[in-house]
């Protein structure tokens, strides 16, 4: 199935901003994180279709996954 992966802030460095990916059915976000060589503790916020899920979430075809390190401001 196909999912859109978006990386932000430092997670982009040496990787990409946005990419479509073919992933096996039943994949979890953390499988993608691992395949991108992102240390799991570097992902602070994981949104799937704009909602906070955590990286254990099982993805569906067409999902948009947005991954952030710790960020902040005001």
């Amino acid at each position: 199935m196909n999912v859109t992966i978006k990386l932000f802030a430092q997670l982009r460095e040496g990787r990409f901003g946005v990419e479509n990916s073919e992933v096996p059915e039943q994949s979890r976000v953390k499988d993608v994180v691992q395949s991108l060589n992102i240390p799991s503790d570097h992902v602070k916020i994981c949104l799937v279709n704009g909602k906070d899920t955590g990286t254990d979430h099982v993805m569906q075809n067409g999902d948009t996954v947005s991954l952030f390190p710790a960020v902040g401001g005001a």
């Binding site: 978006k6 932000f8 802030a9 430092q10 982009r12 901003g17 602070k44 916020i45 949104l47 704009g50 909602k51 906070d52 947005s66 952030f68 390190p69 710790a70 960020v71 902040g72 401001g73 005001a74």
Partner: protein, 573 residues
């Protein structure tokens, strides 16, 4: 420490001892206590009964990291209630080093003359000012730096303050000679009403800061400093990307108000994001990170250059970029940076003006997406044309002038950069803070979006009331210390850092109070502020969001669904 008091009615000044009741107050706690005690809540904010109060925080001037913030208090011409507006820059530490706990300015001089005030170790001098009238803040700061040297603090109003516009701010010179602002609530208009164009500060031979237990202070300051630097938000993300890093995350989460709060995401977000800003700054040889005052270890500020690598603006914040950007559907960072520069120069709150521009677009004065149109309208404000005077009085005033109902304000103050329907915790803060819509008053974006200090689902009501209340109390204490709000990330995530913050205050003032005791100062300050507002005529009906927030906002089709009873329970005093 002393209180410096100026009476503009007869151009006199006095130096007073600090009354006991104010000894353990600073920053917002102190400005609000003084305004509540000395200002008639029913007065006209631009009349002679109002006062303008400047106060450094409890920790300002010490080696405590990020403790150099300034509080400015008054009755607000924008909200009609009490106001504390907070700024970085070089003034607060000078007040502290002079041993000045607060500067209180009262009265209005007879006649049309304008004045300037010089603050120094022996008191103040008040002089007539003619040369810098009608000038923008950049020119004022440059001229005064040339006149008095690099080491002079400056607080100034631009043309907007002279016109006494409700969106007028007070600008404070930063260590690089650029501008930080006590932005919100129209306090520049109060300074203008008192006929003061600028205030300079010379801290030479000041009395300095007394610390009761220097060793204990040093130890706590070390833990605090280390805590800020080792937190990933204040140690890594803020220095690199600045606050604009929030564009992308709010956009992804559906909380980035777009086209005057019609959507929660913006197609042009990437082009105005912190990541793009960082790349642009590096490419144009700007400076991605510096502090707004000496002793800031987080350094979220930056200088943004134009296409020719020439200085365009600094302290270029997420809220400004959101407001002139997504809010107005403008995806050109250079135009937004120019609008930021103009706001700083004219002396306008960039949040109020950005929402005012959204309102002007709503009215059809210019169309959504018209970046050059924004700059043209800011020019009208600078010139003081009839249209400019409408816009310069803020979003509510502009909405009224054009008969609109879709006007994003609470207590007449513009709602900033987080949609209250899809980031509900901050919506509760907008509605209930005594300040009028102000994200910094209880920044629930932390737990709602950033996962700092726990997690509370931004789309659900559960937990938001308590979250907003606790943050409002804690923030009021942080504001009273003179600490930058960005210390809160580490304070919320680490008990040790929170303890170190309180240990520093105890060591300085010889007290032995617990965190809870000090947070009580936050609570009582909020209570004082609410009482002032009630006496000024504000009621619980003013603790509400505009009706249009009952409409669904895509992409999550979230609505604003708090009951009046729920909102009234946030600060139940």
């Amino acid at each position: 420490m002393k209180i410096y008091r100026i009476n503009m009615s007869n151009l006199s000044s006095t130096i007073e001892e600090v009354p006991d009741e104010w000894r353990l107050m600073g920053g917002r706690a102190l400005t609000s206590a003084i305004v509540a005690k000395e200002v008639d809540p029913a007065c006209n904010p631009l009349g002679s009964k109002n006062k303008l109060v400047f106060a450094p925080g409890l920790l300002t001037g010490t080696m405590a990291a990020n403790s150099g913030r300034l509080s400015v208090g008054s009755k607000s011409p924008l909200t009609g209630g009490i106001k504390e507006s907070n700024a970085g820059g070089t003034a607060a530490q000078r007040f502290a080093k002079l041993g000045v706990k607060a500067l209180i300015i009262e009265g209005i001089p007879p006649g049309d003359k304008y004045y300037c005030v010089h603050v120094h170790k022996d008191g103040v001098n008040i002089k007539e000012e003619t040369e810098l009238l009608d000038k923008g803040n950049y020119e004022v700061i440059k001229t005064l730096t040339d006149r008095y040297g690099e080491n002079t603090g400056v607080m100034t109003i631009g043309q907007a303050g002279e016109y006494k516009m409700s969106a007028a701010n007070i600008s404070v010179k930063d260590p690089k000679g650029h501008i930080r602002s006590a932005g919100r609530g129209g306090l520049g208009a109060v300074m203008g009403s008192k006929k003061i164009k600028f205030i300079t500060l010379d801290d030479n031979d000041g009395a300095g800061i007394e610390i009761a237990d220097k060793e204990a202070f040093k130890n706590a300051a070390k833990i605090f400093n280390k805590g800020l630097l080792s937190h990933p938000v204040s140690g890594d993300a803020l220095p690199k990307y600045g606050t604009d890093v929030l564009v992308n995350i709010l956009n992804e989460a559906g909380g980035l108000p777009t086209k005057n709060f019609r959507r929660g995401n913006f197609a042009g977000a990437e082009k105005i994001s912190g990541e793009t800003m960082y790349d642009t700054i590096m490419e144009r040889k700007g400076d991605p990170t510096h502090g707004c005052h000496v002793g800031c270890v987080i350094r979220c500020s930056q200088t943004y250059n134009d296409k020719n690598n020439k200085y365009l603006t600094s302290g270029f914040e997420y809220e400004t970029i959101w407001g002139f950007g997504a809010g107005c559907e403008v995806d050109d960072l250079d135009i937004i940076a120019t609008a930021d520069h103009e706001c700083d120069d004219i002396g306008l709150d960039s949040i109020e003006m950005a929402v005012t521009m959204q309102t002007a677009m709503e009215a059809g004065v210019i169309s959504f997406g018209d970046g050059p149109g924004i700059l043209k309208l800011l020019g009208e404000v600078k010139e003081g044309t009839p249209l400019g005077r409408i816009l310069g009085n803020g979003a509510s005033f502009t909405g009224k002038a054009y008969g609109l109902t879709r006007v994003a304000t609470v207590k007449n103050q513009a709602i900033p950069a987080y949609d209250p329907r899809s980031v509900k915790g901050v919506g509760v803060t907008y509605a209930t803070t005594p300040m009028g819509a102000d994200h910094t008053a209880g920044y629930a974006v932390t737990a709602n979006i950033l996962k700092v200090g726990g997690f509370v689902d931004p789309l659900q009501k559960e937990g938001q009331i308590e979250l907003s209340r606790n943050l409002q109390v804690a923030t009021t204490f942080i504001d009273s210390c003179g600490l930058c709000i960005f210390v809160a990330f580490a304070v919320l995530d680490s008990g040790d850092v929170a303890q170190a913050m309180v240990d520093m205050v105890n060591a300085q003032y010889g007290t032995k109070s617990s965190i809870g005791d000090w947070f009580e100062l936050g609570r009582t300050t909020l209570q004082t502020e609410k009482e002032f507002n009630r006496a000024a005529g504000l009621t619980s009906k003013d603790d509400r969001l505009p009706e249009f927030f009952s409409e669904e906002v895509p992409p999550h089709n979230a609505i604003w669904d708090f009951t009046n009873q729920e909102l009234d329970s946030v600060l139940p005093f």
